[in-house]
């Protein structure tokens, strides 16, 4: 599904990613952990195509396509989804109008007809229940006046609506209380399938109690320095990142 080879990227001429290698197969859930400033969010931004990141070396293949050559919208249309760490508030653009536009542009890209109003509303109803998102929120402006938890649930709701092949959750657990965390994680678990992969970026092991990963990678100083199974996350929780730092020096 996704293969990252020796990916190097800079922000304002400062190298942040220093050679990432990662292969993700369909249906797998990979957790990427690491201390602050290790490059986790840079990796998600580079994959989603955010401006201001310069890829200096390496390749990313996504479903046999060169991901780095695609515009952000085409990456999404090909099946990539980024759940933002800090979802943006967009006053005046209704959640519904926004999602309908997104869904239909993705459908047009795939050569499908626009979704009917009836089917769309049924889909909204079904998917909003997945993350227990109040249907009233769907009619409000995108994220405007949403609580931290509602914003994160709205990200997972969008994920469910757009039905991507690969979803990157960028610190989706940050700012969530334990109840909201459980709701978000339940939503994600229901969306797991043999065709859909996840990259879960997080600081803490906590989220991984709910969304159990197949693989755990530790990102440190722009490189993946350790990979393992879910036990690695527990070990990190116990020993802290200093253990990794000490090993890599």
């Amino acid at each position: 599904m996704l293969e990252i080879r020796n990916l190097k990227a800079s922000v304002e001429e400062k190298e942040i990613l220093k050679g990432i290698n990662l292969k993700i197969n369909a249906g797998e859930v990979h957790a990427i952990m690491g201390p602050n400033g290790s490059g986790k969010s840079t990796l998600s931004s580079v994959l989603a195509g955010r401006d201001g990141y310069e890829v200096t070396e390496g390749e990313v293949d996504f479903l046999q396509k060169n991901l780095l050559e695609l515009s952000p919208e085409d990456r999404a249309r090909e099946g990539l989804f980024l759940a933002f760490q800090y979802p943006i508030e967009i006053p005046g653009v209704s959640n519904i109008n926004f999602l309908k536009t997104a869904l239909n542009e993705i459908r047009t890209y795939k050569g499908l007809e626009a979704i009917s109003a009836k089917d769309f509303l049924a889909l909204v109803k079904e998917k909003s229940q997945l993350v227990e998102l109040d249907s009233k929120l769907a009619n409000r402006s995108v994220n405007e006046g949403f609580s931290g938890g509602e914003k994160k649930r709205n990200e997972i709701f969008q994920l469910a609506m757009l039905n991507p092949k690969l979803a990157i959750l960028d610190e989706t657990d940050s700012g969530l209380d334990i109840d909201a965390l459980r709701i978000v994680a339940n939503g994600v678990n229901k969306l797991r399938s043999k065709d859909r992969s996840f990259i879960i970026i997080t600081h803490y092991q906590r989220l991984l109690d709910y969304i159990v990963p197949d693989f755990v990678h530790v990102l440190y100083n722009g490189k993946i320095v350790k990979s393992g199974t879910k036990e690695l996350a527990l070990e990190l929780e116990e020993k802290g990142y200093d253990w990794i730092k000490a090993e890599t020096v």
């Binding site: 195509g49 955010r50 515009s71 999404a76 980024l82 967009i90 997104a102 542009e105 890209y109 402006s141």
Partner: protein
């Protein structure tokens, strides 16, 4: 300097004279005399710093002749509305559909005793070379059952000096749309509208500037409000015309409400200038003002909004805001909100912002599969919707929203 200014003025006067029907009324004579004391607006005048009308001397205007057999249906916002049609400044009774209170809608007769000049070069020119206008009188207690659209269509390189007087009497209520259209790049519409809202009157006015070609328009509206009256004016500049709007509101009563909303979307080399003045003379009144601009290409926008609160106008609430999005590096906005307060117990605020489209919001939308062009359109629509959401007239609301949607359907031009 004096000779140069005099030359421009002489040229303008000659052009207006040649483009206007002959008349020897005392009123014209008085206006012409009054013009002697007035300067052609120029950039050294604070109110005209960014807007230059000297282009009037460069265009080739002709003496208007009556144009018949024009299909006005494309200009009707809603065919069921009453409508009053002016073609090149001349009233077309044949094309107009008047309300039952029509006996009170009469052609304006300018009289010497009325001093409409107001030290304003264009309104004085309007008086001197007056083409036509209507006296619209909504009698006391009457609530007009349907909106009334006043259509101004320019078909040729003519100058139209139109002067309307709208009076909404005590306890009366009306909704009036003033729309301007032009098929000629060389037309000049000089339109002066005087409004009076008497005690407890409600008037909603929509000014829709929809010129299909790059003509020019000077528009002066003044409104005098008496107590408990509500005056709302929504100004949407969606056409291609050079525009200067002067809007003066005098709140001369307590418990009045004045709402001024506007949106302007200039394109290419277009220039749109909105000057507004709200004078609070009496206590316990409210004014709300919100103008938004979206500018593309090499266009220019000017917003100058002044709120004046006189000493007696205690407990005034006055809010004013102007914000702009520049979609091109070559577009320019001059925004100047002004507050002048002489009372000591008031709530007033004003603000102005000018910026570009929010890149973070753009990326967020793109990351969901929405093209950059569509994302831009959604964001511009949302920006303008802040103004249109206050519209209770769904026809006007839909018209403006669809205009924005169509205009930015394929993204935007630099």
């Amino acid at each position: 300097m004096t000779t140069v200014a005099a030359t421009v003025k002489d040229k303008i006067l000659t052009i207006f004279k040649n483009a206007s029907a002959k008349s020897n009324t005392a009123y014209r004579k008085e206006a012409l005399e009054y013009l002697q004391n007035l300067e052609v607006p120029h950039s050294r005048m604070e109110n005209w710093k960014y807007t230059r009308p000297a282009f009037l001397t460069k265009n080739n205007y002709e003496l208007a002749s009556e144009i018949k057999n024009i299909d006005i249906s494309p200009y009707l916002l809603d065919a069921t509305y009453y409508h009053l049609v002016f073609i090149n400044g001349l009233y077309s009774e044949k094309e107009s559909v008047l309300p039952a209170v029509a006996k009170d809608i009469l052609l304006v007769e300018l009289k010497n005793s009325d001093n409409f000049f107001n030290k304003n070069f264009f309104t004085t020119l309007n008086a001197a070379y007056f083409t036509a206008g209507l006296n619209i009188h909504i009698p006391s207690g009457i609530k007009l059952d349907k909106p009334l659209q006043i259509i101004h269509l320019s078909t040729h390189n003519y100058i139209a000096n139109v002067h309307h007087v709208i009076t909404v009497e005590k306890n009366a209520k009306a909704e009036i749309l003033i729309t301007t259209h032009s098929l000629s790049e060389n037309a000049f519409l000089n339109i002066f509208t005087e409004i009076e809202c008497k005690e407890n009157a409600t008037l909603t006015a929509h000014l829709l500037q929809l010129e299909e070609s790059e003509s020019s328009q000077y528009n002066y509206i003044n409104c005098r409000q008496e107590q408990n009256s509500v005056f709302t004016i929504n100004t949407f500049s969606l056409g291609k015309s050079w525009i200067r709007n002067d809007l003066d509101i005098v709140i001369n009563g307590s418990h009045c409400e004045a709402n001024l909303y506007g949106a302007y979307l200039p394109q290419n080399n277009q220039h749109i200038d909105n000057h507004t003045l709200v004078k609070h003379l009496k206590p316990h009144s409210v004014s709300n003002e919100l103008y938004k601009g979206v500018l593309t290409h090499r266009s220019t926008g000017v917003f100058n909004g002044k709120v004046l609160v006189e000493k007696n106008a205690q407990k005034t609430n006055a809010y004013q805001s102007n914000s702009n999005i520049l979609l091109s590096n070559d577009a320019t906005v001059y925004s100047k909100p002004e507050l002048e307060i002489y009372a000591d117990d008031v709530k007033c605020s004003h603000g102005s912002t000018t910026g570009q489209i929010d890149e973070e919001a753009l990326f967020y939308l793109q990351s969901r599969g929405i093209s950059k062009d569509s994302a831009m359109r959604l964001l511009v629509q949302a920006f303008v919707a802040d103004v249109t959401k206050s519209l209770s007239n769904q026809t006007v609301k839909t018209y403006v929203e669809e205009y924005v949607s169509d205009r930015f359907m394929n993204g935007y031009a630099q």
